[in-house]
Symmetry: C4
Subunit: 213 residues, 4 copies
């Protein structure tokens, strides 16, 4: 096994990172009911991930499980795995530079995801906040957030995201699932949170503009 | 008396559950002025319920009373009973599996309740958040929230809700009263809160969509 | 002097009531910059009132002054008196049953005050929350909130409010000043706060409805 | 060197003022991701300023640097300087009475900045909150907030602001950058915060009005 493209975390550090992401989103009001899922990679083979159910904004160590990426994606999965676990794990499998993934339900993301499903993406241009996305150095270009149809078969949905990667234009660190919410990721939990917050703010701006459209 | 379909609570546990629900709604801004009422079943015959008046977001033990369901619904009622108490108690009488009831005033629920009174229900479809309602396993179907006209005679209103139960399609764990607010319930306070939060989020989404309608 | 129609407060109790009202509004985001003013009556002749300037959401004892109602309204006024002090004092002079007054800038109140200035009032009907206003027992009637044009001469504005009292229909415990904010009052600070919160929620509902108008 | 037109601050006091401003904006939700920058003047030649990157709502002493105004504007700049540092420093150079500058991203400011770029300014009239801007004594007049096109060359942008000063009408303590955010300043951090909060509230009001336009 070659050296990972990311700093490996100990299990406790990964669990702590997951809890931090989840509670931060809870304070934002982005994980109503039992919504949301959060994960952090431990190494190439494993990630810590919030288990199914429960209020993610109040999650504790008991609500985080360690998943083997291959066993979970290709086998039956962990008994406490969230239904959305495969979407996290597919991202870790596809891109070894990903260190953390956050999934949440900011209202603007949920509304716009459904409204723009047919277009298959939301194009964002002209906002300074785009620069919070890694690799973007100016407001002058555009960035895209892909939008996928929702699917209760999350392994199949994860593979559709995987197949779409080749066609993504420019930096993509998140996608929307129609009527569902947003996934955002980064090299670590700090970057995943920054990307999530930036996308959510950009979508808030677009939602406000569309109120007059 | 046969064994109840729910875990019976001690009086102090039921009172604590009521306080927890009420304060959580207070923190959400859903119980302005003296709005809102919260209850938890003790056993088949009794429930703990917030008393009339006061800021429910700051309720203490002194603001929760124990009501006998039959005496209250069929008799004159407790002197400190909220005017809305009968709506809670009718739910407990009609469905022994109900363990807790929350009534609050999220803005989206109040606005939409009035706008959709004539239709008698709000049909919700295509949102992942529907899965937070017990028994719903996919976003693909639709769920309904019944809407009733407001009535200061809450015993009569409770009976109208009771009579409507037979016609409800699919899982219903809440209803709206036009221009007033939402009732949501569950097998215990955790589920009542989850249902309330899910309905409120779904109504937020619909309200946002209707801003462009 | 006849017995007051309200329980007289000690100076420290009135000051504490003022601070409580002000900080509660601060937490709501209703007193941006140096907006807002809060007062509580001590007796027929005097009231404690927030002084001019400062962030009312962080006010302390040092930011509350005691004003003589007659001296202030008819004379030059206290050197630290807020420009809006006369609006509070005129209310105390006109109605001895008033024990506390809150003035704040909830967004819905500010926007609607200007939009409905020509009508001179906002008529509110069909909302359960109307029952939070003292004397209202059903959602079926309507209540009115008078709207006055803004005026930097607050003694003159206070007198216009005073003269309008005779024409008010039904229970009125608050009014709007166009492009400025809301005044709400009650027999004590608890009731003033309840009335303020109820009016603000009702105006939030109306603002949401008018987004589609 | 003549005596400054402002009270000079010690370095620690200026750093503390910067942290206070930044965290206050963080609590408002106005600095998503790594957005926002905050500074306080130490003397005619130097200012404390938030460094590049990081969550400004959680900034500590380690995230604040001291910048020499002339060296930074005319030379290569501090290695940890924010890309937006020159916009702060140009303000200090142009106006020795400025003691603190806050840059943040309230949603209303970001949306309206882009919508009103062509006009080059937003004219605000008839709102009482205008009086929170220094020198404004009545709601009856109008105030203007200039709007500039965004530019990644912030030295050039700072100079365009500088050149525009001569044409400003009435009191101006802030400007917008299109699709980016707001700058606001004052004689000290208290006044900068008051101006920022007042502008943000005024823009919230205008945004609400434009939802019906």
């Amino acid at each position: 096994m070659t050296a990972p493209a990311f700093p490996a975390l100990t299990e406790p550090a990964a669990i702590e990172a997951v809890i931090g992401l989840a509670r931060w989103c809870g304070a934002k009001g982005w994980v109503p009911a039992t919504a949301g899922n959060f994960s952090a990679r431990i190494d190439l083979a494993r990630a810590a991930c919030t288990a199914t159910g429960g209020d993610k904004g109040a999650v504790t160590e008991a609500g985080v499980i360690v998943l083997d990426i291959a066993e979970t994606l290709d086998g039956p999965g962990h008994p406490r795995m969230s239904a959305e676990g495969p979407l996290h794990l597919q991202l870790y499998r596809d891109d070894p530079s990903i260190g953390a993934v956050a999934h949440a339900h900011p209202l603007s993301a949920v509304v716009l995801s459904r409204r723009h499903l047919e277009a298959g993406k939301i194009v964002i241009e002209g906002w300074e906040m785009q620069k919070a996305i890694r690799g973007v150095t100016t407001h002058e270009g555009s960035i895209e957030i892909p939008v996928f149809a929702n699917d209760q078969d999350t392994r199949a949905l994860g593979l559709r995201v995987s197949q779409a990667r080749a066609s993504w234009n420019g930096p993509v660190f998140g996608y929307l699932i129609a009527g569902h919410g947003i996934y955002a990721w980064g090299k670590d939990a700090f970057e995943a949170r920054r990307h999530l917050e930036a996308y959510a703010h950009l979508l808030d701006l677009i939602l406000e503009e569309e109120r007059r459209a």
